[in-house]
Symmetry: C2
Subunit: 212 residues, 2 copies
DNA sequence: TGTACATCAGTGAACGCGCGTTCACTGATGTAC
DNA sequence: TGTACATCAGTGAACGCGCGTTCACTGATGTAC
């Protein structure tokens, strides 16, 4: 493929520059949003001339794809690590909030308005499944929720539920949608001017979803 | 100001063309997102040449501002009309979903990832308050929710709550964030591949928030 | 009703800009004998 | 250890494109006497 082999100094340098490019790309996304990401602007910041970037990424779409994939993987890793360290559902909720606030644009790139005309790579669905698996396991460990019409409906669509019961499915969905609801409105600035502390609203939703 | 007086044929024609421009602008937003909105492209669709639009809007920002304001006002009107027709909290929830699904990009323009580098006009905060007032009134009409730590916190930030108790505040926030959580994930396509019907998840959240 | 003037809508050319991407090329770095 | 060659990183010029916006101008539409 013409690519240098892994482990060689050249390959190490390559990986380093790729990371540097991604770093400036994230900076740019943070300030102007994903749709304003410009290869030329990144090159200027990095001290190279535009076409040089094409040594590292085939084109703009490939760069964006990699950023999105990295973001998904980062969240999946965070969840897996916390769960492995013994975190329960409330612990995952806090981890999610920390992860979102650490880099709002990264969160919005994953769960915000889709980048227009851009289709998520197939990779992400696999990582999404991994995130969901961790979440479902944590939900299954909670005291079971009372049956509901929604659970009956979910029982008919169990492809993504693994070995866990419909109650865990329902709880996982509530976890996801409710916490996303608070987070995305907070990150978009819709609570500014209302005075209250979004963290307390978040905590209340966590309590409601864990059923304590 | 050089503007023709209202009611004259010229002014009627002016308003008509302005609406036509906005119509194509919405079409464009629907297909490519708000950040891709282009005056030249709109002019081409409408059969005029680019600079002609400057007779109707001072610049691109003014057009976007007006679209956002219109979207807010449309939602506020929908809420007010339904509430005046006797709708309860569950009725407002259905109205919200209908409004969102009728034009997803309109919903995302209001509650989605903010347009990068764009600041919402002051108008919107007034309309937001109107929406919140309708929502709070409907919440206050529901059976009171049990006290909670969040309610105590909200009681200290009552500027936006009008005459309604903290319980209504809490319920209004839960209504807003939970339904937005489901809607925005649905509109962004994050439920595709999971098989279940988003409407049923939405209904379950409506039940949970109305406390039935 | 007719004429003289002002107002306004829309055009076409032009501005500078930044974008993604290609291409031929120069130097440096690695590899093989 | 030294030489010959291949590989790779990065450059600079150039491409076509579409953008927002300005400007001077042409015609049509309205208004005032």
């Amino acid at each position: 493929m013409g690519k240098p082999e892994a482990g060689t100094p050249r390959e190490r340098y390559r990986a380093q520059v790729r990371e540097e490019i991604k770093g400036f790309a994230w900076e740019q996304i943070a300030t102007a949003g994903a749709s304003a990401l410009s290869l030329n602007a990144i090159a200027k910041q990095i001290g190279m001339s535009g076409p040089a970037l094409y040594r590292y990424f085939a084109n703009r779409d490939e760069l964006i794809t990699e950023l999105i994939t990295d973001a998904y993987r980062s969240l999946a890793d965070t969840f897996r690590t916390r769960a492995a360290a013994g975190a329960d559902l409330a612990g995952l909720a806090l981890a999610l909030r920390e992860w979102a606030l650490a880099d709002p644009q990264r969160y919005l790139l994953v769960y915000g308005t889709p980048v227009p005309g851009y289709h998520a790579p197939a990779d992400t669905t696999r990582i999404t499944a991994e995130i969901m698996a961790t979440l479902l396991a944590a939900c299954a460990a909670e005291p079971p929720a009372p049956p509901s019409p929604l659970q009956e409906h979910l029982a008919e669509h169990r492809d993504w539920a693994g070995p866990h019961p419909a109650g865990a499915q329902q709880r996982a969905l509530a976890f996801w949608t409710r916490l996303h609801g608070v987070l995305s409105l907070e990150l978009a600035g819709h609570f500014t001017g209302m005075g209250f502390d979004p963290a307390q609203l978040y905590a209340a939703e966590v309590e409601a979803v864990t059923g304590r």
